[in-house]
């Protein structure tokens, strides 16, 4: 069977890897914007072909579909989904793993996602306001009380989120001034005619986790939980990134999320799939994820939705799946998900992303750097390597400005992080490498944090006030 994979990051490398490993003997064809060394190797081994071109262009994708005539397609990243690349496959009569443009709006427009949650009373929703102009958002920040998260109203590659806990009255002014100044930047990240630019919502706190759910429009299957580490630098300090690493497991849970919370989260995502159907009239086919936080307000609370697999969460989850994940992708695309069974390696996994100096603040500084690695040695130490924002140019690996590699180890958290430490020694560059030393090492701390949050939301549950909150300030009044 021929599969056409669209995308170029580490997530697509993981997907390609599962297709390669499958007993169904898939021939993997791929379309990327540059030659991803990992995908390239899969394409070669399976006897497919590698196409280089704009993955966001419906015309180019259509051309490649015509050339390959695949049995099914896989669209990895969100941007092609937003541009209707999955729709192109379906228009050509090719089943595809990937949400239609209308369904992917759950990720593309944060404003729409929130509106949906409120309209359908989906639990785990936060109070929010949308703003069409930067001036109004800035005014709101200065006038209203409470701790807030300020975000671009649409997906902006995980960029631009500012979160301000306003618990110290004596610093309120300074924090709000900084926020007001950043509103310009945040507002420039998502700028679509006729749509809100900025969202301000109540700020919550707690351990974050992600639940991915596979759906073919009829059947849903939840994947094991994963947690991604957003701060760029070690110990959870530094600017926001798409994720500098992740953990998954043990079992389908995480050490700080119990099975009841897992179930509640699954229900939230299922209700979201239903709501999307009711709003758009389209079946959701592919993967939808709730990027969650355990909060004292709701317990499981939605921070964002993904319309695709999270990156680097995919690298933590998929290697733990022992059943034929390549086939599960096919089942999802073709509407046979009811036939799929997930058999899981109960041991946890850890992923570390490696970027070059400059990431995430200066893409330019992080681009065009050489990376050298000893794959065999890394494998000897029990690590898998997936290639992300790094291209094979001639015989060299050249960075493209984002996270270049994701390395994965399976085993209990301590053992896995030690293996990863060893593997990182085999990665070199002509500049400094940026990666976090603490991934998988702060589990105890998060267990404690979750336990404290659990007291409060259980108490709210008992009193029947889950999700009830408000802020008040003399200038802004109640919201």
């Amino acid at each position: 069977m021929k599969v056409l994979l669209v995308g170029d990051g580490a997530r697509e490398n993981v997907l390609a890897h599962s297709l390669e490993k499958s007993t169904k003997g898939y021939k993997v064809y791929a379309l990327s914007t540059y030659i991803n060394p990992g995908i390239n190797s899969v394409v070669k081994t399976t006897g497919g072909e590698y196409f280089i071109g704009n993955i966001n262009s419906p015309e180019i994708v259509k051309e490649v579909i015509k050339k390959v005539n695949p049995d099914f397609g896989v669209v990895g990243p969100e941007d092609p989904l937003f541009r209707g690349i999955a729709d192109v496959f379906r228009q050509e009569g090719i089943p595809v793993f990937g949400a239609n443009k209308k369904c992917a709006r759950i990720e593309e427009s944060k404003a729409w996602a929130r509106e949906l949650m409120w309209k359908y009373s989906i639990p785990g929703r936060l109070r929010y306001k949308v703003f069409y102009t930067i001036e109004h958002a800035a005014k709101f920040i200065l006038e209203y009380g409470g701790s807030v998260a300020v975000k671009p109203a649409g997906q902006a590659g995980g960029k631009g989120v500012k979160v301000i806990a306003d618990l110290e009255a004596y610093l309120t002014q300074d924090k709000r001034e900084a926020l007001t100044k950043s509103v310009n930047d945040i507002g420039s990240l998502y700028n679509k005619e006729g749509e809100p630019r900025i969202i301000i919502e109540e700020k919550v706190d707690g351990p974050e986790y992600t639940l991915h759910v596979l759906t073919d429009g009829k059947t849903t299957i939840p994947l094991p939980l994963a947690q991604d580490y957003k701060n760029a630098y070690q110990d959870g300090i530094g600017p926001e990134t798409g994720g500098m690493g992740s953990i998954s497991g043990p079992t389908e849970l995480l050490p700080f999320i119990n099975s009841e919370e897992y179930q509640t989260t699954y229900d939230i995502v299922k209700r979201t799939i239903d709501a999307i159907y009711k709003e758009t009239g389209e079946n959701y086919v592919g993967v939808i994820a709730g990027q969650m936080m355990l909060t004292e307000l709701w317990g499981p609370t939605v921070i964002e939705y993904y319309s695709r697999l999270g990156d680097p969460e995919a690298s933590a989850i998929i290697p733990r799946i022992e059943s034929d994940f390549g086939e599960i992708i096919e089942f999802t695309a073709t509407g046979h998900l009811s036939k799929a069974r997930i058999k899981l390696n109960d041991q946890p996994s850890i992923v570390k992303a490696i970027a070059t100096l400059g990431y995430p603040i200066s893409k330019q500084m992080a681009s065009g750097r050489k990376i050298v690695l000893d794959l065999d040695k890394m494998k000897e130490h029990g690590c898998m390597v997936f290639f992300g924002s790094v291209a094979l140019e001639g015989m060299q690996l050249i960075t493209k400005g984002s996270r270049a590699l994701e390395i994965v180890a399976i085993g209990d958290f301590r053992e896995a992080s030690e293996n990863l430490d060893k593997c990182i020694q085999y990665v070199n560059s002509d500049t400094k490498l940026i990666y976090r030393t603490d991934i998988g090492r702060t589990v105890e701390y998060q267990i404690e944090k979750a336990e404290i949050i659990r007291y409060s939301y259980k108490n709210r549950e008992k009193r029947g006030i889950l999700g009830v909150s408000a802020d008040w300030s003399p200038n802004g009044g109640l919201w």
Partner: protein, 401 residues
């Protein structure tokens, strides 16, 4: 001893001056008679402000920048201007000229400074450079504020004050460099842990975590240990505010003797031990701690304090409690005897000023006017802390460096 602090914003929309200011207030229990802030602005200039005042009295209106360092201490004038930046130091350095190279060659300087110090420097290039001595005598922690700030501080208390999250203690012998683009840490010297005992029993705030211990828990346990070592029949336990209150709570719990609040405070919570002037010290205590008559009248009292230097303040306290009708007064000290000075900058005076270095217990009790006096034993201290990697120089005259 001193409180040192460094804050760096990853995005220069931030003005961190007020964060430094409030962060320093969260450290002023470590020294409040001199304080200062150095701040780096967008034009890569560093402005420094230092005065002989407590951090809360520092005038910061003109300071504006996205990164900076701060100091709250007693003797030294920090932040000190160095080549290409500024620096704050916790500890004693004989020749501060050496610090001029700290920004260019931090590792070399660390090698040359033969003293246990922690420091934080800021460079004009926008780097925070922090180091903790290999003995861990001087505490240092790192934390963050959302996606926006990195914070390095003597104690997590300053992070709590500004809403930042404490992440971890910096290891003894570890150098940490923070700039916009990365955080790098390097173990420059192998740790030879020898934590300052005074941090545990007196110096650190009770909402802190220092030297791998939650200070409040540890001090309650010291109180319980005192109860095991010296169970005294009494009607009430009173702790000298504020540092000795957790000891009193532990003692009271263990022996089921009620805890009373024997004092109320007048004026600001400055720390008497830090005052260099003996007269001010007495004024400080008497002004600060006013005993409450109905809490002590007709009662046999256990009075717990964290340490005793000359005994003068305790003598006055006991006199005042007797005057209000205390029937018996037994004094317990939540630390072993102080018998020698600290060469590393903790405010323990020289031997001739230390009452317990010069008199035996019976004589001390006579001086104080107490019915009895007892100190936490060294073994008791080890039991509570759970290890012996401690600097006990002021209690044993054996110094680790």
């Amino acid at each position: 001893m001193a409180g040192i602090l460094g804050i760096l914003a990853f995005d220069d929309v931030w003005n961190v001056s007020r964060f430094l200011y409030y962060g320093l207030i969260g450290l002023q229990h470590r020294g409040y008679s001199r304080s200062g802030i150095a701040i780096l602005n967008k034009q890569r200039n560093i402005f420094t402000k230092l005065e002989n005042v407590a951090p809360e009295d520092l005038e910061i209106k003109d300071l504006n920048g996205w990164a900076g360092i701060g100091y709250a201490g007693i003797r030294n004038s920090y932040p000190m201007t160095v080549d290409n930046g500024a620096i704050v130091v916790d500890g004693i350095i004989d020749d501060t000229n050496i610090l001029n190279q700290v920004i260019k060659e931090p590792e070399k300087i660390i090698d040359e400074i033969k003293k246990p110090i922690s420091f934080i420097a800021i460079s004009k290039e926008g780097q925070l450079i922090a180091y903790r001595d290999e003995l861990g005598l001087k505490p240092l922690s790192i934390g963050g504020f959302g996606f926006d700030l990195a914070v390095i501080s003597s104690e997590p208390t300053s992070m709590l004050v500004i809403g930042a999250e404490f992440k971890r203690e910096i290891n003894p012998g570890e150098l940490v460099i923070v700039d916009k683009y990365h955080i790098e840490s390097k173990q420059i010297r192998m740790p030879r842990k020898s934590y300052c005992t005074i941090e545990y029993v007196y110096q650190a705030r009770i909402d802190s975590m220092v030297n791998e211990k939650d200070i409040y828990d540890l001090r309650v346990k010291i109180g319980e240990e005192l109860a095991l070592e010296y169970p005294i029949k009494a009607d009430s336990v009173i702790g000298v505010p504020e540092t000795a209150l957790p000891f009193a709570i532990g003692y009271s719990r263990k022996l089921n003797i009620p805890l009373d609040l024997g004092f109320t405070r007048t004026g600001s919570p400055i720390r008497t031990m830090l005052s260099s002037d003996a007269f001010l010290k007495v004024v400080g205590v008497q002004l600060k701690l006013n005993p409450i008559k109905s809490a002590v009248k007709g009662k046999r009292i256990i009075l717990i304090d964290d340490s005793m230097v000359t005994g003068t303040t305790l003598k006055n306290t006991i006199f005042n409690l007797r005057k209000l009708g205390a029937k018996e007064l037994h004094v317990l000290i939540g630390s072993p005897k102080l018998i020698s000075q600290c060469p590393y900058g903790v405010e323990v005076p020289e031997e001739k000023e230390l009452i317990s270095a010069n008199l035996d217990d019976e004589k001390i009790a006579r001086v104080l006017g107490a019915d009895s006096i007892h100190w936490l034993s060294l073994e008791g201290l080890f039991r509570v802390i759970g290890h012996r990697n401690l600097c006990l120089g002021c209690m044993t005259k054996k110094y680790p460096w």
